[in-house]
């Protein structure tokens, strides 16, 4: 009986000694992996968000630059409008006031697409 008890206790201690560090390592590993994975997910989410924001900003930048160019050319538009009022279209025969420069150009380009030559 005594011998059995001694064997049981010794075996238990031996197992405990050898298993304990492994268990600690295993648990620590799992914890570290979960923390790392969570962090990765967070980083991924933040990257996606930042990417979306960057795209939006690029769009806004493009719109702003376009708007800016348009503002800069607003003054020259005045000249263009004055100029446009004097135009005639030999193709359409419309009166100068009706046509305007841009309409003339568009008309010219429509005719270009419609022509068969």
């Amino acid at each position: 009986m005594l011998e059995n008890s001694v064997v049981q206790i010794s075996t238990g201690k031996l197992l405990g000694v050898s298993l304990l560090p492994s268990s600690i390592l295993l648990v620590s590993g799992i914890i570290i992996w979960r923390v790392w994975r969570n962090k990765q997910l967070c980083v991924q989410t933040e990257t996606d968000l930042l990417h979306d924001e960057l795209r939006q900003m690029k769009k806004q930048m493009a719109d702003l630059q376009t708007a800016n160019s348009k503002t800069e050319s607003a003054e020259s538009m005045q000249t263009v409008n004055t100029f446009a009022a004097q135009q005639t279209s030999p193709e359409s025969g419309k009166s100068p006031g009706e046509m305007g420069l841009f309409e003339y150009l568009i008309e010219d380009n429509i005719q270009l697409r419609q022509s068969t030559s």
């Binding site: 939006q56 690029k58 769009k59 930048m61 493009a62 719109d63 630059q65 376009t66 160019s69 348009k70 050319s73 020259s76 538009m77 000249t79 263009v80 100029f83 004097q86 135009q87 005639t88 030999p90 420069l101 841009f102 309409e103 003339y104 150009l105 568009i106 380009n109 429509i110 270009l112 697409r113 022509s115 030559s117």
Partner: protein
């Protein structure tokens, strides 16, 4: 949520050089050429199906070079059409990297003053898959538009393939107001090549060497420093004096332009001829030729004299005008095409 953006671009599609200016403030200029690998070795070395612009020129020994435009218009063969498509697509991709699938590209492209309907239609057809709306306009008119010159003035746009002249008189220029000459940059290159070979028969020349000489020494004024260039003869380098050769060749170009200017002045309303003579604007790569403005003025001596000035932003003046037109075109007009 996806938002669609409209990008406006102005393109000057030139025989030698093409330029683009975008509504996002980007600008780019490139040689209008495409190089295809000559064989499997060059294909392996370059690891690309084609190279464009300066990159193609740098690797020209391994490539079959295609210059798709001649006299300002796309050559009438499939290889040239495809090469032009690649050049235009590349210009847009490089200047609009932010372009996404849902975005739209509205473009205005400048073509020689008297380009044919077929030439213009070719441009529309080859750009179908990457330009949503396209407007084709006369190149010298685009230059005038870019600098707000609608009043009496004469635009002389000296390109590589053509020299385009456009008389502005406060209205849209008609065919009578425009001239398109083949005496342009490439014509001058050929004249210089022929003249050098005539005097120094065995000298080795390439289009690149000639272009370099022209850009560095080309002049039409009466006085200039001697043009001594280093050339090879059967592989042996030597110095050659080409001052006179260069002058005479350059005069062939300036004389042809002078005559065209004279004819546009001569058949203009006599009351406004003087104003026209004193408002000549020289644009395009050829305006870099030393003394070209003075030579044009000189051609008008017997007409009472004139005043010519070279435009500042030579490389992009056409593309700038195209972009301006493109941006100012009302949206509802774009819908019509």
């Amino acid at each position: 949520m996806t938002t669609s953006t409209i990008y406006h671009i102005g393109i000057d599609l030139g025989t030698s050089q093409s330029s683009i200016v975008t509504s996002t403030g980007k600008r780019l200029s490139t040689k209008t050429c495409v190089g295809y690998p000559k064989d499997v070795i060059s294909q392996k070395r370059l690891n690309k199906n084609h190279l464009l612009g300066e990159e193609a020129l740098k690797n020209r020994l391994s490539l079959d070079l295609v210059w798709p435009l001649a006299e300002g218009v796309i050559r009438d063969d499939e290889v040239s059409k495809e090469a032009t498509r690649l050049v235009l697509k590349d210009l847009i991709q490089n200047t609009l990297p932010e372009l996404e699938k849902d975005d739209k590209v509205y473009a205005t492209i400048g073509v020689p003053a008297l380009a044919s309907v077929q030439d213009k239609k070719t441009i529309i057809n080859i750009t179908k898959d990457f330009i949503d709306k396209i407007l084709i306009v006369s190149e010298p008119f685009a230059v005038a538009y870019g600098i707000d010159r609608f009043d009496e003035c004469l635009i002389v746009d000296i390109g590589a393939g053509t020299t385009d002249l456009c008389r502005m008189s406060g209205s849209i220029p008609g065919e009578d107001d425009q001239r398109s000459l083949t005496e342009a940059g490439n014509f001058l290159d050929q004249a210089i090549t022929d003249a050098i070979h005539e005097q120094y028969p065995e000298v080795q020349l390439t289009p690149q060497i000639i272009r370099g000489i022209k850009e560095k020494h080309g002049y039409v004024s009466d006085n200039n420093d001697p043009a001594i260039v280093s050339l090879t003869k059967k592989g042996q380098p030597g110095s050659y004096d080409i001052t006179e050769i260069l002058h005479k060749s350059c005069l062939k170009l300036s004389d042809a332009i002078g005559q065209a200017v004279q004819s546009l002045v001569a058949d203009f309303d006599p009351d406004f001829q003087e104003i026209l003579r004193h408002n000549i604007i020289v644009a395009g790569g050829g305006s870099r030729l030393m003394g070209i403005d003075k030579a044009i003025e000189k051609s008008l001596d017997s007409y009472g004299g004139g005043k010519a000035s070279c435009i500042q932003d030579v490389e992009f003046c056409g593309a700038n005008g195209c972009l301006k037109m493109c941006q100012e075109m009302p949206e509802n007009y774009w819908d019509k095409i």
